[in-house]
Amino acid sequence: MSSFMTVVWIAMICAIAATAGWMFTPRGKNQALIRSSIALTITCCYLMWAITFLAQLHPLIQPHKTGLRWEN
């Protein structure tokens, strides 16, 4: 389960980053837009990465290849 924890740790880092982005967005007419964009970008990218990572964590099948050419 140690690898599964990587996903959790990264999730926490992402959450911290998103919170920081939320807090440090300067006040102004685009504040809401910037805040939501930062949070959503981090969420989307994290989800995609985590899914890709988890899918390879405990692979059920191994890649098969034929006709590999080795250099030596």
Partner: protein, 843 residues
Amino acid sequence: MSSPYPSLFRSEEMSLVQLYIPSEVSHDTISELAEMGNFQFKDLNPTVTSFQRPFTSRLRRLGEMSRRIRLFHNQITAVVPPLGIPPLSAVPPFTTVGPRAQNAFDELDDKLKEHERRLNEMNKSWEELGKRKGELEEKKWVLRETAGFFNEAEHRHTEIRTSFDEGDDRTALLEHAAEFGTLPGEGISGGFDLEFVSGTIERHRMPTFERILWRVLRGNLYMNYSEIEEPFVDPISGKETYKDVFIIFAHGPELLTKIRKVAESMGGTLYNIDSSQDKRADSLRETSARLEDVDQILFNMSQTRRVELSKIAEGIEAWKDAVRREEEIYKTLNLLSYDQGRKTLVAEGWCPTRDITAIQLGLRRAVDTAGTSVPAILSELRTHQTPPTFHRTDKFTEGFQTIIDSYGMATYQEVNPGIFAVITFPFLFAVMFGDIGHGILAFLAASVMILYEKKLLKSGLDEITSTFFFGRYIIVLMGAFSIFTGFMYNDIFSKSLSIWQSGWEFPHEAGAVVAKATGNVYPFGLDPGWHGAENGLIFTNSYKMKMSIILGVIHMSFAIFLQVPNHIHFKKPLNIYAEFIPQILFMWSIFGYLVVCIIYKWSIDWSQSSSAPPGLLNMLIYMFLSPGTIEPGTQLYAGQGFVQVVLLMIAMVCVPWMLCLKPYMLWREHQKIVGQGYGQIGSGEDAQDGEGRQPEEEDEVGNSVAPNEGGEEHGFEMGDVIIHQVIHTIEFCLGCISNTASYLRLWALSLAHAQLSEVLYDMTISGAFTTKAGLIGQSIYIFAMFAMWFFLTIAILCVMEGLSAFLHALRLHWVEANGKHYMAGGYAFTPLSFAIPEDDETA
């Protein structure tokens, strides 16, 4: 509630505002408001037809002015060599406001009239002279060409005469001539007595003309014609016509009259020429001289016309702009109602509450420009009418907001999905379009458009390019996210990158090999070991399919959660516990559970486990078919049967919950109102909005309240509520299943994209690398194949596939996400503004 800054999250708070404008500042006030562009005027006399409105005559005059300006514009652009029209920014502005504005407009009107008169005169004489010139030219041609005929005929004349003397071979025409005895005597050398008609006719009519003449005269004619090479240009339309010169010899005044009639009826022009050569030469000389004169006059005239037009061209842009503004102003003034007694105009309209101060400042500025002392008075009205929806967008958010607005204009103050679409839209697009290379291409193309946006805006774009240009900020984000998802799929132009240590090791053997896991997990993206593997598709399909489900369920849950701020904002707590909670529970107890199972299954090391990994699809199906029982060997975790029964029961309970609670609560509320004796007082709210309004408007307000509130307060119809709720529930429950399945398009499209890009590579460059055609041959082959590959990559993979992924992302936002929370029952805020029509003209 009102934050100091406008945000895209909700539409702007709007106020219904009444303006009392003293009539002497009305023009300048409207102008100032239009300059600021944040006031939407309401029509205060909807019953009055447009003919009866006070400023209609003024508008008609302005319409006439703009017609004149358009006329000048057309003539200026038609003139060769082209005259430059200085742009609006380069000409001194035309004062449209202030005390002198009226006079200035009257002067402008006179000036335009004068210019039009002069131009018309010039055009008329130009036309006449042009016609004259055409005629002279035709005559010149006729004279020239017939000279040839005469020579020929004379030559033949002698020839025939000899043949006539010699034997009986005669041509028909001369036979007749001989019969009638009009053949000239031998002694006359230059004379040629045979009568004739000559002139010109359009070339395409020539065959018909000839045939008709032949029939009418029964062959008693001798006709000759020749083509004029140069086309005649019509002085007005500039159309080119080709003409033929004809000359017809015939005998007898009757026949000649017939020929003349036929020629004229066919649109030909007849020219009288003399049969004697000297006179013809004189005539030719005279014609040429006159032609020269006419040319000279025409040239002078075109110079004068050019000068006149260039004088107009100098001011035309400023005039056009001024007249357009003036028209807008008077159109608006027509919407206001006039208070006869107090000499004021009353305006009513919507403006963002936040801008009221700015508008008040504007009203004061208008007084300064008008040079009077009485400003317009602004008062806010309380109303139950639904205000228009206004999202303040900039060039970045405009495109995204348009995507949402094309689905439906948000209800006033509703949560606007546009603010989230800024990220979710490009992201879902990128899930389908994931390729580093294609992402970079899209990103670069959009970046170029953004870098040169000012230049591109100035130089007009055609329709297709301007569509892409409008979406430049969407494309730039789509490209950026595609680069990220490309890294995730480890896919760059169908090849893979090996940045980190792969988790697979291939044994150094020939033939089929199976990789061994090193225990290392590729940290960022898909392991390159899968690239080119025979069973690579099996793996990526399973991975992408599960990813689509997970992303879909999260996206839909997010959309359902967006209901909450709406229900809180519109103060409908009932909707939270009668709609939102059962909906989210229903969704999560079925598909949320599936997502948890997917993640759980991934996190278990099945090689260490005692049982084989179960199929999740079957698990979900048997959760419904045989609740509570788990087939031995397909268990995912202990206690699975019990958990699934509980979840199924929650989902089952949610259906009647969604179905019955809301109608029941509404019915109870209604009973309470009836019990208190208010049941019949349907329009009880009208009493509240009388404040600050004229009594005659009471009715109108009452009418516009009713449709907004629906049937809940006014005329409570239990049947309608129940039917609405049944439809809503069925739609949601079935939608949950079909919408989740709909997210599988993410998998399908990304699979198709990856496969297409691989096939393209294999069919083009890949073959070129292994070809045996010598160094030069192979170089050329590779070069050609690369060109083909690059072109097809742009055309098919980036543009076509991009458009298809765009459409699918659009659908996911409109149907799957917006359908969960977006009411979209508003109408757009359309303020009076000078800026908008200008954009339309340039576009």
